[in-house]
């Protein structure tokens, strides 16, 4: 059918890729960028290497953590007392503590952050937005020690105690999961509000106009048009923020107490995995002792737990992502 056969292979044509500075530059840039992306994989591999060599197998003469403590004990024992004379290595209390606090933080931070994002993007005047957004971002820069103290000297005595203890009759300890969760929640607000606000504002104005033209209220447009179109960025901000809450260390070390309790009572003191890790690594535990090695086992567990979580959330996110134009 075609009248003209294509040029036979081997004969170069005017549209061939050929050497030029421009092409070389393109390839180089691509290569460099790929290297940047692979760096994150390298980081993970190094982390896993460091954690595994200390917890799973050991190359030195001393035994690794899991060569001394069985997986069964680790995952079923309900006590975590590596530094007491009566040693127990049950990770459950630390897991519970971690997720109790991260959960409270998410309950506080996600609604507040998202609502602030919507306010800034859809309701606030540019002047207010340009003022409030950077101000809220200061929250991300306050040293976490300060959050810990804030929980201890403000949240517990002036908010939790009057309300939950004096009014509702709960017993609120000085150190408790709730106060730590609340301040961590406040700490992650800017991450959610700023990133979500960017995502919301990147939604083309024409979509809003289309929404209004169909008789939408501002609420309809914000929730049913803009929010779904920005869901990818919003979900990403949630995941980052929740990850931060799980990984947060200093504030919970100060505010949540350091008692590995297997409890879901937010008014008791608990210990998180991170608090334990920081404690061991900056204390007087001799390096090489089983207590010291337990920190790697804890870190590895945390790593795997968050990895599982991320797989799940990623699968969910893929399903809900909407792309425009």
């Amino acid at each position: 059918m075609p009248v003209n056969q294509p040029e036979p292979k081997g004969v170069s044509t005017s549209l061939d890729k050929r050497f030029s500075v421009q092409r070389l530059k393109e390839q180089l840039i691509r290569f460099v960028l790929m290297f940047c992306a692979l760096l994150s994989i390298a980081t993970t591999i190094s982390i896993i290497y460091v954690l595994i060599t200390e917890s799973l197998f050991s190359f030195g003469e001393s035994e690794a953590f899991f060569q001394q403590v069985s997986f069964k004990d680790f995952f079923t024992d309900t006590k975590w007392t590596p530094q007491y004379a009566d040693q127990h290595f049950g990770i459950l209390p630390l897991l519970a503590g971690t997720f109790l606090i991260a959960g409270i933080a998410a309950l506080v931070g996600i609604p507040l952050g998202l609502a602030s994002a919507i306010y800034m993007s859809e309701y606030a005047s540019p002047r207010i937005r340009n003022f409030i957004k950077p101000i809220l971002e200061i929250l991300a820069g306050i040293p976490t020690v300060v959050y810990g103290y804030f929980a201890l000297v403000f949240v517990t005595p002036y908010i939790l105690r009057p309300f939950f203890q004096d009014l509702l009759g709960f017993d609120v300890s000085v150190f408790n999961a709730a106060s730590a969760g609340i301040v961590v929640g406040i700490m992650i607000i800017p991450m959610i509000s700023s990133l979500s606000e960017d995502a919301l504002r990147a939604v083309p104005q024409s979509l809003r106009e289309a929404g209004y033209a169909l008789g939408s209220t501002k609420f309809d447009v914000s929730i049913k048009v803009v929010l779904p179109a920005a869901i990818s960025g919003i979900a990403a901000s949630f995941i980052l923020a929740f990850s931060r809450a799980v990984g947060e260390t200093m504030a919970v070390t100060i505010a949540a107490g350091q008692q590995p309790n297997l409890t879901f009572n937010p008014f008791e003191s608990v210990e998180t995995m991170t608090a334990f890790i920081v404690n061991i690594s900056m204390g007087d535990t001799p390096v090489g002792s089983i207590e010291y090695k337990s920190l790697y086992a804890v870190a590895l567990t945390l790593f795997l737990v968050t990895l599982t979580m991320n797989f799940i959330s990623y699968a969910i996110m893929r399903r809900f992502r909407e792309v425009y134009q």
């Binding site: 460091v50 507040l112 409030i132 971002e137 929250l139 306050i142 504002r201 209220t217 309809d220 990850s243």
Partner: protein, 333 residues
Amino acid sequence: MSNPNQMFDSQLAARHRLGKVFATICFLSTWFSFAALIVMLGTILWQGGSWLTWDFLTSYDSRMPAVAGIKAGLWGSFWLILLTTLFSIPVGVGAAVYLEEYASKSRLTRIIQINLANLAGVPSIVYGILGLSVFVQMFDFFRVNPKTLVFPLGIAELRVPLPFGPSVLSGALTLSLLILPVVIVASQEALRSVPSSIRHASVALGATRWQTIRDQVLPAALPGILTGMILSISRAIGETAPILMMGALVFVAATPGNIDSPAQLVTDPQGVMDAPFDSFTTLPILIFNWVSRPKEEYQYVSAAGILVLLIVLLALNGVAISIRNRYSKRARW
């Protein structure tokens, strides 16, 4: 056809009410967060305001609260954040560009994606452990035979010790790894929100992929990228545990490279070259230390330290914030 209209009319009032409630919730949420910040800042200001003097900025730490200062921490943090920014922002944005604009949606990219979210949740102290073995000790490669590489650069010599030891450089690299996930994910989302029709239009004009990214996509994504940068630099400047873990000092009566005035940054090239390889302390470490000291006055000293930290933070972010404000006119495409 009157039925749907009736429904519309009858529900309109309720919808308006819902809208008002929602708007109020959003409004209150924002100002609640603001209030939380004000309470914290207020307390800190009240405690530390009067301790924030010029002497405080220009003297080293001391066992006596009255004369304790943050000079070492101020310069340490300055160098640390400067280097962290220099490493993490290009690498982070580059990785995001690669993942969004170049990589095919293969399994590898998916793994990288999940991996990134996961790295964001690794506790900072673990990065400290990592930084210690990778940068500070370099897997003991140079254990028996530490070296210093010397590069003559005309006006000054660049002397790179191997391993890096507990230097500013090691700290900055550690912090860079720590904040990279946030920089990358935020940048990725910003890139993703640029409509692909813009890319199509550019490519159709004969622009290469990189030209399209550089001229069209990155400028449009800039506000979001800057947000990621602001958030992660804010986090980096306040981090304590990983830096302490990897061997930063607490008490040191010297500044990196012995540079202790802004003018020296220009007049002392050798100091600038040396600073990254020097030992250091940072503002949050000093604050952390002061907070746990028995003397009550240290509480005020640490409050003053926090104020300085926040001022430094605002100054650093100020540039990014103003650029972002300028670029973030609503996209109308």
